[in-house]
């Protein structure tokens, strides 16, 4: 089984801060063997299965601009969520080491999931420090696809071992 999925998030920081939104300024891609949906957009739906490890990594398209993941929060499925951005105020200039987004690694193991159910999450990014620096996106999701491709590698290996 492909046991690690990387979700890469590329951000055009200057444009996102200029337009005060992450919509159309964020490009998400993953390397899931199941073939995820909406690659390259902010509505990426990553196909995964329980037991895999997923890692989210963010990159600024202009390397000299700052960006970090501040939060990834999953949204309860009975709420109607539109993929619009929500802005949070951040006017503190002193950040405790525990809260410093640069010191957080966003990796987790996929737990039990309902087959075919889309688990939407809110991705919050911080770009620089100041009133406008924190922005969120509700579009991306995880989906338990139940596809056979993820298991293919395991079966092939077993046969070779015999």
């Amino acid at each position: 089984m492909q046991n690690k999925i990387n979700i890469n998030i590329a951000v055009d920081v200057a444009k996102a801060l200029s337009e005060k939104t992450l919509l159309n300024n964020v490009y998400m891609m993953d390397n899931s063997a199941c073939g995820s949906k909406n690659q390259g957009t902010e509505q990426l739906c990553t196909f995964c299965i329980p037991g895999q490890t997923i890692r989210w990594i963010v990159y600024a398209i202009d390397l000299q601009t700052p960006v970090a993941i501040k939060d990834i929060a999953f949204i309860a499925s009975d709420r109607q969520i539109k993929p619009a951005q929500m802005k949070e105020n951040s006017d503190s200039n002193t950040v405790l080491p525990e809260d410093n987004p640069d010191l957080k690694i966003w990796t987790g193991i996929v737990p039990y999931m309902l087959l075919g159910h889309t688990y939407q999450y809110r991705l919050t990014l911080q770009m620089g420090n100041g009133f406008n620096s924190v922005m969120s996106l509700n579009g991306p999701a995880l989906l338990y696809c139940g596809c056979a491709t993820a298991y293919k590698k395991q079966t092939t290996t077993k046969i070779e071992q015999l």
Partner: protein, 260 residues
């Protein structure tokens, strides 16, 4: 925030050449003011390098520093890198074009007597650079003024001469000796034209305040020849190191907290 660090080194070239010192005539700025750097816009910049490490102690993220040097009194760095070459060629083309237009269907006999001196005045000659105390070489650009036009020393005052931008020739100091900073040069190896730019990676396990020395070459226009003036300046980095944690659990690897 995770980003490549840019340090802008701005030199008041004329003042530095006249006082033969960079002290008080150099200003440093980086893009990390809100991340802890102090002394922005002064000569006493201390760049804050926030490193991070995994639970096994190994360095988590790369830290890359880039230095960009320019002078007040030089054409701005927002112009394309090959601007000097482009302008040198265009100045010739503009003059050739105006000669063509002037000679179309007109009596040229009078004009030709002054031809030689006029061409040299208008097109100019290539600049000269002093490489050793006794040797001068031609470089492939013409002297420009601060408006991007040809600088003619017989007609223009020296105050509108575009001063060639300074270059960093080396980065040394205790930070390099103690293997905190690993500097290297990148760029085209042609002096003056695009110049080199210096970049360095940092070993963030070596926390604390470290000094490094910038070796800067300024160019003074003496007797129509660009003469290098070598000066040095000390700056500092402050390295800190903190452990990384999992964003979901605030500790180690765990389950992704899905909602049902």
């Amino acid at each position: 925030m995770s980003q490549e660090i840019t340090i802008i080194v701005l030199v008041d070239i004329q003042a530095a050449i006249e006082t033969k010192s960079l002290k008080g005539n150099i200003y440093l700025m980086d893009n990390l003011r809100t991340d802890g750097s102090t002394g922005e816009g002064t000569g006493q910049l201390i760049t804050a390098i926030d490193g991070s490490y995994w639970c096994d102690g190994s360095q988590c993220c790369d830290v890359v520093m880039n230095w960009l040097i320019t002078g007040i009194g030089s054409l701005p760095i927002t112009l394309p890198h090959n601007y000097y070459h482009t302008r040198s060629k265009h100045i010739e083309h503009e003059w050739i074009q105006s000669i063509k237009n002037a000679h179309l269907g007109k009596n040229t006999a009078k004009k030709e007597t002054n031809f030689d001196t006029t061409i040299i005045e208008k097109i100019g000659t290539y600049s000269k650079l002093r490489t050793t105390p006794n040797k001068v070489m031609d470089i492939e650009i013409k002297s420009l003024n601060i408006f991007g036009e040809h600088f003619d020393s017989s007609q223009n005052t020296k105050s509108i001469l575009n001063l060639l931008p300074p270059q960093i020739s080396d980065i040394t100091g205790s930070a390099v000796d103690n293997k905190v900073l690993f500097p290297a040069q990148y760029g085209t190896p042609v002096p003056i034209k695009d110049g080199w730019y210096w970049s360095a990676t940092v070993d963030t396990s070596k926390t604390g305040l470290h000094n490094y020395t910038l070796h800067i070459t300024l160019y003074d226009f003496v007797d129509e020849v660009w003469t290098p003036v070598e000066l040095t300046y000390d700056a500092q980095i402050k390295v800190s190191n903190n452990p990384v944690r999992n964003g979901f659990t605030n500790a180690g690897l765990g389950l992704i907290p899905l909602m049902y």
